[in-house]
Symmetry: C2
Subunit: 375 residues, 2 copies
């Protein structure tokens, strides 16, 4: 793990660049707003920790009312459990036997649940759990429109039956997340996509009841769509992740009606390291912020950001601006990452600032516990 870019007590000006910085005030407001929303709708909230990979933030979320967190990978679950997170749902499939042995072992001392979408996956999981003498909550994943993992709704009952045929496995409900809906820019587009997802989730639930079982829960939803799943009467739990930080890509969505307002809470602090007559070069490239969902936005300055490669970003005046607006050599510049989850995964620490980005101080430095946990 690299040395942190700052120490508690440091002024913002002392943070080494590039650094991943959290605006703590904004983070806390985001966490509280989502918790209040879920509470007001009588929904369980299980935020996705693939976004922040941090036991500290998971603890803040559960303190505010979340029942636990989701992760995508076994190694994330192991890292967060080791850092004190006690209720973790792997909302994704694991089929490798070696990993399933670890899943079963982890379930002996953590409240753990997992998704499945195949007969083979259930058989292997059951075998591992039996060998370990542990028990596990299992969600059957259905494809509600993304075309990635998950079975067709009509197969849900069969898989649920298979799950409960094994003593160590409990059927906990349906995993029904529509990733493809999250960044449809217009609220009405997202609403239509989620209406379709809800219909498929209802059909899957009917498949489960037709198989003679109860479906305890339908879980899913993300930051772009959760108001629609929440209003459906079908989903009992929501899994938003990015709301804690609000990246540029989510901010580019037109707001959903009745959604709480979230604020940018995650930034990359960078510094001008070279100046031309008509451009400035900062010391943050795409090894500092992920660009899979587009480029970062320069925060509160009329500057455009162009990708300058792995280690550089290039700033130019915004539309109608002149080179007088360019920052000077050595000057600090804040950028809002295009996509928060893979940006966080590039860093070892969050530098947490209290009192605003301009005049605040570093209050804490948090490890990114599950950084690099891709397996």
């Amino acid at each position: 793990m690299r040395a942190p870019a700052a120490r508690p007590g440091d002024p913002v000006a002392a943070i080494e660049t590039p650094a991943l910085v959290i605006d703590l005030d904004a983070l806390e407001r985001n966490i509280d707003r989502m918790a209040a929303f879920a509470h007001s709708r009588n929904l369980r909230l299980r935020p996705h920790a693939k976004t922040h990979k941090s036991a500290q933030i998971a603890a803040m979320q559960t303190s505010a009312g979340a029942v636990g967190v989701c992760v995508q990978k076994l190694s994330e679950a192991e890292a967060l459990a080791a850092a004190g997170v006690s209720d973790i749902y792997i909302s994704n499939e694991v089929v490798a036997d070696d990993k399933l042995v670890r899943v079963a072992a982890l379930a002996r001392h953590t409240r753990l649940s997992i998704a499945v979408d195949s007969t083979l996956g259930i058989e292997r999981l059951a075998h591992a759990v039996k060998a370990a003498g542990s028990t596990l909550d299992v969600y059957v994943e259905i494809d509600v429109g993304q075309g990635r993992c998950g079975v067709a709704p009509a197969r849900a009952g069969t898989l649920a039956r298979q799950v409960v045929s094994h003593a160590g496995l409990r059927f906990a409900g349906l995993q029904a997340y529509h990733g493809g809906a999250q960044h449809l820019r217009q609220s009405a587009e997202r609403e239509v996509a989620i209406r379709h997802a809800v219909a498929l989730a209802s059909a899957a639930r009917a498949s489960v009841t037709s198989a003679g079982m109860i479906c305890p829960l339908v879980t899913g939803a993300g930051t772009g769509s959760f108001v629609f799943e929440a209003a459906s009467g079908v989903y009992g739990e929501i899994q938003p992740g990015s709301y804690v930080f609000l990246d540029r890509d989510y901010a580019d969505n037109a707001p959903s009606p009745h959604a709480p307002g979230f604020e940018h809470a995650l930034f990359v602090l960078c510094q001008v390291m070279s100046r031309g007559a008509a451009h400035a070069v900062v010391d943050a490239g795409h090894k500092s912020h992920a660009i899979d969902s587009g480029l970062p936005r320069v925060w509160r300055r009329e500057l455009t950001f162009t990708n300058g490669g792995d280690e550089h970003g290039i700033l130019r005046p915004g539309a109608g601006g002149s080179s007088d607006s360019l920052p000077a050599l050595g000057e600090a510049v804040w950028i809002v990452p295009g996509h928060c989850d893979p940006t966080v995964n590039l860093h070892d620490h969050f530098v947490c600032v209290r009192g605003g980005l301009q005049h605040g101080r570093v209050e804490a430095v948090w490890p990114i516990d599950a950084r690099g946990c891709i397996a």
Copy 2:
């Protein structure tokens, strides 16, 4: 640092997925071919370690004849020096005072050089070096067409003069790298771009000699263009990085005449974790391989790779193929990353395989010493 995905002696089938895997035989051939090329042209070879971030690979390159390595960041230099690399060139600007103190400190026990492109940068560097009592080789960076860092050629002499006005700084030559030329697909396009770069480098050299100084070296070039800098009679050193691994983006270039043939030596091994009727989902998304330069290519299978998000990749049959060609649940799939440098930066280890990807064994696991060194 995460646990490695395999141990020396393991068969390939035992590697946990997703994992970053080196084909050692191909790596060694790539290293030897570039070394032979540089030797045959009587050129110094200083490979860019921003690609591999590994002291082990740096040692293999210097054993084959390289004079040392380049890095882009101070923290990379510190990490590689700590791991035993003894001749490091930071081919990039550093302007923060705190970092320059560390540059000067590192120069006391490592052969270190650095690039500059501003009066302020030279003054600050000189101040730090004087305070530390160290000495440093300094290259003046000129912009040879990329429009990123570097001064105009006509300013080179003035900055070189400023460098030598300080006792601890030696003027070592010109940094003249054209990043924008590397991925022009046609060899003739790259040749034209480098002809222009060579003209600018010549002009900068003339500026230095007009200022009454000798220009000891012009250094630059990358994997896409080095044959042209090598043939110029102006460049005395080349800095290619990606040739060690050859990513999909470089393989998509039409070959340059007289360039050695390089092979793919870097792969992400992944596994099918979900199967649909017409697609397969693997457990590697863009947290496992960088997609800034496009998607990975599936290795030796007629399958297309679609981005499935942070943790998933989606495989479909290639043109004219049927779903019979899709891999089964649990099956291993090898992919060639779109861009090697930022892909390496996502991982903690290289799993090094000898004897081929199909039937080989893990010979070694190497730490990626400068993983995450972005500052």
